[in-house]
């Protein structure tokens, strides 16, 4: 019951009590806007330096109040994941909920403490505002609602990927990365904000946002369908891609990027191989065009071109020098990174469409270029980079000084060679890591211990190799020395190789950014090794072209000159892949697509031999 005496009859003097209110402080505020609180949600601010134009704010906006506007003066860099787009806010829609702030991957958007805006009908355009640091009316107001770790709705941490421990992987070639299961893949895919930076950065423009969304929706088949739109080497790229997509990922600006590569791998592994074949065959032209195309080399570039062309209804024959198809992914990448059966699956999908591969058929020896030219409507040269570059230091012509590519190929083909008890690897790229780690495994299998020294020109923080590779190599017992320049291979009196002498590197490039390493000769080290492996780069073996053709073609600093579509100066000959672009799997795939599209377009209109 009530705790006041409401039956109080009052008094005639009661009104006089009200006089006390004259003594109280008035509650009325002075005219004019009061300053807002520290987390106030007023008009928007945008830091143009950190805004990357990803458009995530636009997606989360529940009122469709955000329009992305192209600002020509803003920075554009697809490789780093920066677009010249900026959000413009429609205050005829906005509700100041600040979800855009909480979800912004780079913490660029915030709300200010400014809240007054009045205009007439003629001035209504002012309701559509392009936020910058200046606020609504050009007067900077302090920030109000900003992103803090508590308000952040972006998941910055990647789902953990199960991997083999160093002790259980260092003596075998088993695949290290286990891959996501469905649950983890779904969780990892759900981190994606669908900005599409990955698509822009990918050389072959894979539809990563779409396939990630399909994975999140639990439909890996659709994901595979999206992948085959742009990449018939999805098993390979799901494992060993250089993942430029992840470099560009907008989540990566403040946290760990989405594991796009592993998600691709998950989707490919989750779908039955026979089903993948059916999906890959979708959209194939059923009526043969009657045109025939020869592809030299069965690496990613060559087979991608073959895949595209065969789907367009052309007849494609591939000529491979070795006994197996796959090119560099098979003969250059160790099995612990890319199991051969996965590569076989990718190739099986392509051959199942009717691509014919002639194995152990070396052009220039078994067949000549001119016979291909006469027999086929077009020829694609996708021979890759098969020759290892040499350092040409004293002693490098010794038999125990090997090229990394040759050695890797021998390991793949299981060709026997004497496994050195100790070895020195020259180079700091991924190939150097591959050969060092492969040799380390063989040593562990044969002798039970690892004795590999890897010397690289670059300081550790500038290594060309993937940081994960470096970390794993160290875990497997490889000694990695940075800033060491090879000077000579030491050979003893009996003609046996003893090891490598190196000097410390002072600088690698000169002022014009040309390669001109400077050494400190006083800091000399000797690295013991029965074998020295050079892994400093590769080049193409173009001897198959024959003298006449080599004469006829145009060249550019030792490389074949091609136009944007990959066509050489000979109208019937295209070139694609590493031999044009330098080593990179996904680039080779992109190149294959480009060349195939160009050939298809040209064949549709003209006979190339009559041009």
């Amino acid at each position: 019951m009530s705790d006041i005496k409401y039956k109080d009859k009052g008094s005639i003097l009661n009104p006089l009590k009200t006089l006390q209110f004259f003594a109280r402080k008035p509650v009325t505020e002075p005219l004019g806007p009061r300053p807002a609180t520290e987390t106030y949600r007023g008009f928007h601010l945008n830091d143009w330096e950190s805004c990357i134009g990803c458009g995530t704010c636009q997606k989360v906006c529940d009122n469709a109040a955000i329009t992305m506007v192209h600002v020509p003066e803003a920075k554009e860099d697809p490789i780093k994941g920066i677009r010249p787009l900026r959000p413009a806010i429609d205050y005829g829609r906005c509700c100041w909920c600040a979800l855009c702030v909480d979800v912004c991957p780079t913490a660029a958007i915030s709300l200010s403490r400014e809240y007054v805006h009045v205009c007439t009908e003629d001035q209504l355009d002012s309701y559509f505002m392009l936020p910058s640091a200046d606020g609504m009316h050009g007067t900077p107001y302090p920030e109000g609602w900003t992103k803090t770790p508590t308000t952040d709705l972006v998941d910055l941490e990647r789902e953990e990927m199960p991997e083999l421990e160093p002790q259980s992987r260092s003596d075998n070639f088993d695949e290290i990365v286990a891959g996501y299961d469905a649950q983890h893949a779904l969780l990892e895919a759900s981190r994606c904000v669908q900005c599409g930076m990955c698509h822009d950065a990918c050389p072959t423009h894979m539809d990563a946002p779409e396939y990630i969304r399909s994975i999140w929706e639990g439909r890996p088949e659709d994901a595979v369908r999206w992948m085959y739109q742009s990449n018939p080497f999805s098993h390979v790229c799901g494992r060993v891609c250089t993942h430029r997509c992840e470099t560009a990922c907008s989540i990566g600006h403040r946290g760990e990027p989405i594991a796009i590569r592993w998600l691709k791998r998950y989707a490919m592994d989750a779908v039955d191989h026979e089903r993948v074949k059916q999906i890959a065959a979708e959209g194939r032209v059923q009526v043969p065009t009657g045109k025939r195309i020869a592809v030299i080399g069965s690496g990613p570039a060559g087979l991608t071109a073959a895949f595209d062309l065969v789907k367009k209804g052309h007849e494609v024959e591939v000529f491979e020098r070795l006994e197996k198809a796959g090119g560099m992914p098979r003969f250059g990448i160790p099995e612990y990174r890319l199991p051969y059966d996965k590569l076989d699956q990718d190739i099986d999908v392509i051959t199942s469409l009717g691509v014919k591969i002639h194995y152990q058929c070396e052009i220039g020896k078994d067949r000549s270029m001119s016979s291909l030219r006469d027999e086929f409507d077009a020829v694609v040269l996708a021979i890759g980079l098969q020759l290892g570059r040499s350092t040409r230091i004293p002693g490098s012509e010794h038999i125990q000084v090997k090229a990394a590519v040759d050695l890797l190929r021998m390991i793949t083909l299981r060709e026997p060679f004497d496994i050195p008890k100790s070895a020195v690897v020259i180079g700091g790229g991924n190939v150097a890591m591959d050969i060092a780690r492969s040799l380390a495994r063989l040593q562990k299998q044969t002798y039970g211990e690892v004795q590999i020294t890897l010397t690289a020109l670059e300081p550790r923080d500038q290594f060309l190799a993937d940081p994960v590779e470096v970390k794993e190599a160290l875990e497997e017992g490889v000694t990695i020395l940075d800033s060491r320049g090879p000077q000579a291979c030491r050979i003893d009196d009996q003609g046996r190789l003893n090891g490598l002498c190196t000097w410390r590197v002072l600088s690698i490039f000169d002022e014009q950014h040309r390669f001109a390493p400077q050494y400190d000769s006083s800091d000399e080290q000797f690295h013991e090794g029965e074998m020295v492996v050079e892994a400093i780069g590769q080049m193409a073996d173009v001897s198959l072209l024959g003298e006449d053709l080599t004469e006829a073609l145009e060249w550019n600093r030792g490389r074949l000159k091609v136009d944007e579509a990959g066509r050489t100066s000979e109208p019937w000959l295209w070139s694609a892949g590493d031999c044009v672009n330098g080593p990179d799997v996904v680039h080779a795939v992109a190149d294959g697509h480009r060349v195939a599209a160009s050939i298809d377009a040209c064949l549709a209109t003209q006979d190339l031999h009559e041009v």
Binding site: M1, S2, D3, I4, K5, Y6, D8, K9, G10, N14, K17, V27, A36, T37, E38, T39, Y40, R41, T56, K59, V60, D62, N63, C95, W96, C97, A98, L99, D102, V103, L111, G144, W145, T148, T150, T151, L153, V154, D155, L187, A189, S190, R191, C192, V193, Q194, R213, W216, E217
Partner: protein
């Protein structure tokens, strides 16, 4: 088509007439209309007319992501928005099996009670104004603004806080906030005697409000009356105590009742609830600093958040009565169906119609305000 509030449909006998109150009328709470049939100044029948504030919330929510709806829900009841956010969040949390951190639960109680005080102060003002006493509304609204200042400091918004999201709250309290709450509570408590003098012990008010819009407990139960209006008929029922949510089980508070069931009893119950809210807030201020931990459970990426299929009925005690959300998910990233059961969907429609019957014309506005009807809740 002529708008029906322009011309009466039939021609009544001269001592009986129809009167339309609202939507543009100071005696109507919000944008709402009430059609009366009168004999002299005695109401023969009343008929509520809603839909002026209809926005199709339930349809809108089906078209937006689960997280986007947090910006939408507070708009369903403008004077008391926090229970809307909390109930919606509770529904989503229940569907997802999300565990809300304890600190966030205390923060939610803090907001809920602040919002209850603000809503009650607003109602006092309205109720007093319908009896001709405008000072209370001037005071009540000015004092309510102090609570809005607190909300501004806590959430960054005065009226629409959008502060509770599924999983917890969006921020922690800013530094010095609890002292600020404490000072505001001191001030509001010191104001209670003023309100008593001005309104609750004022003979004008008592005479006007006593026996107006009275209902018995049986009627109240039959009509589906909830909240302070039900307690004013003598039934001590409070969702906070009897179907507890958040940390209300750990808090000490009474459920005040009155027996009369009339407009005056409803005002007195609200006045007593104000004191209970002060009491709860004091306990929150005391306990909150000792409760550590995060204010939000980790939630998935809002753009890719599939809520598991299922249905739930989340219920809280808002300042106006029983507020519930029936949420259904089909496993998608948007709600399949959300049904909002606002307390006013009873109070502002059927209960008002029944109570107005036999009342006098000058009391109709008072009955509406004493029921604390909130039209946007009816219209959604």
């Amino acid at each position: 088509m002529r708008p029906e509030n322009y011309q009466a449909q039939s021609h009544p006998p001269s001592n009986e007439y129809e009167l339309f109150i609202g939507p543009n009328h100071p005696g109507i709470e919000g944008n709402y209309a009430f059609k009366l049939k009168l004999h002299g100044d005695v109401v023969l029948a009343g008929k509520a007319d809603g839909g002026y504030l209809h926005r199709g919330f339930e349809k809108l929510m089906e078209g937006r992501l689960w997280i986007q709806n947090i910006a939408l829900v507070p708009r369903i009841c403008v004077p008391d928005p926090v229970p809307m956010e909390v109930t919606y969040s509770m529904a989503v949390e229940d569907l997802c099996g999300l565990e809300v951190p304890e600190r966030a639960q205390w923060l939610r109680v803090l907001q809920l009670e602040l919002s209850r005080i603000a809503a009650h102060l607003f109602t006092f003002g309205g109720h007093a104004a319908t009896t001709g006493m405008y000072t209370t509304s001037y005071w009540g609204i000015a004092d309510r603004d102090l609570i809005l200042d607190l909300f501004e400091a806590l959430t960054g918004g005065r009226v629409y806080h959008i502060f509770n999201i599924p999983g917890g709250t969006r921020r922690d309290v800013p530094p010095g906030f609890l002292e600020q709450v404490s000072q505001t509570l001191d001030y509001l408590e010191s104001r209670l005697p003023d309100y008593d003098n001005l309104l609750f012990t004022n003979q004008v008010f008592i005479t006007r409000a006593k026996d107006v819009g009275a209902m018995t407990q049986e009627q109240a139960l039959e009509w589906g009356v909830t909240g302070p209006n039900l307690r004013a008929t003598g039934l001590a029922f409070d969702v906070r105590r009897d179907d507890p949510y958040l940390v209300y089980e750990q808090l000490e508070f009474d459920v005040p009742t009155e027996a009369a069931g009339d407009a005056w009893a409803r005002a007195m119950v609200r006045r007593a609830e104000l004191k209970q809210s002060f009491r709860i807030l004091r306990q929150v201020i005391e306990r909150l600093p000792s409760i550590g931990g995060p204010v939000r459970a980790p939630i998935p990426n809002p753009l890719a958040w599939n809520v598991p299929a299922g249905e739930t009925y989340a219920r809280v005690e808002s300042s106006k009565g029983e507020l519930a959300y029936y949420a259904v998910s089909n496993g998608g990233d948007k709600p399949y169906r959300v049904h909002v059961r606002g307390p006013s969907s009873m109070h502002a429609v059927q209960v008002l119609e029944w109570l107005a019957e036999g009342a006098r014309l000058e009391d109709v506005a008072q009955i509406m305000f004493s029921l604390d009807a909130c039209p946007p809740e009816v219209d959604r």
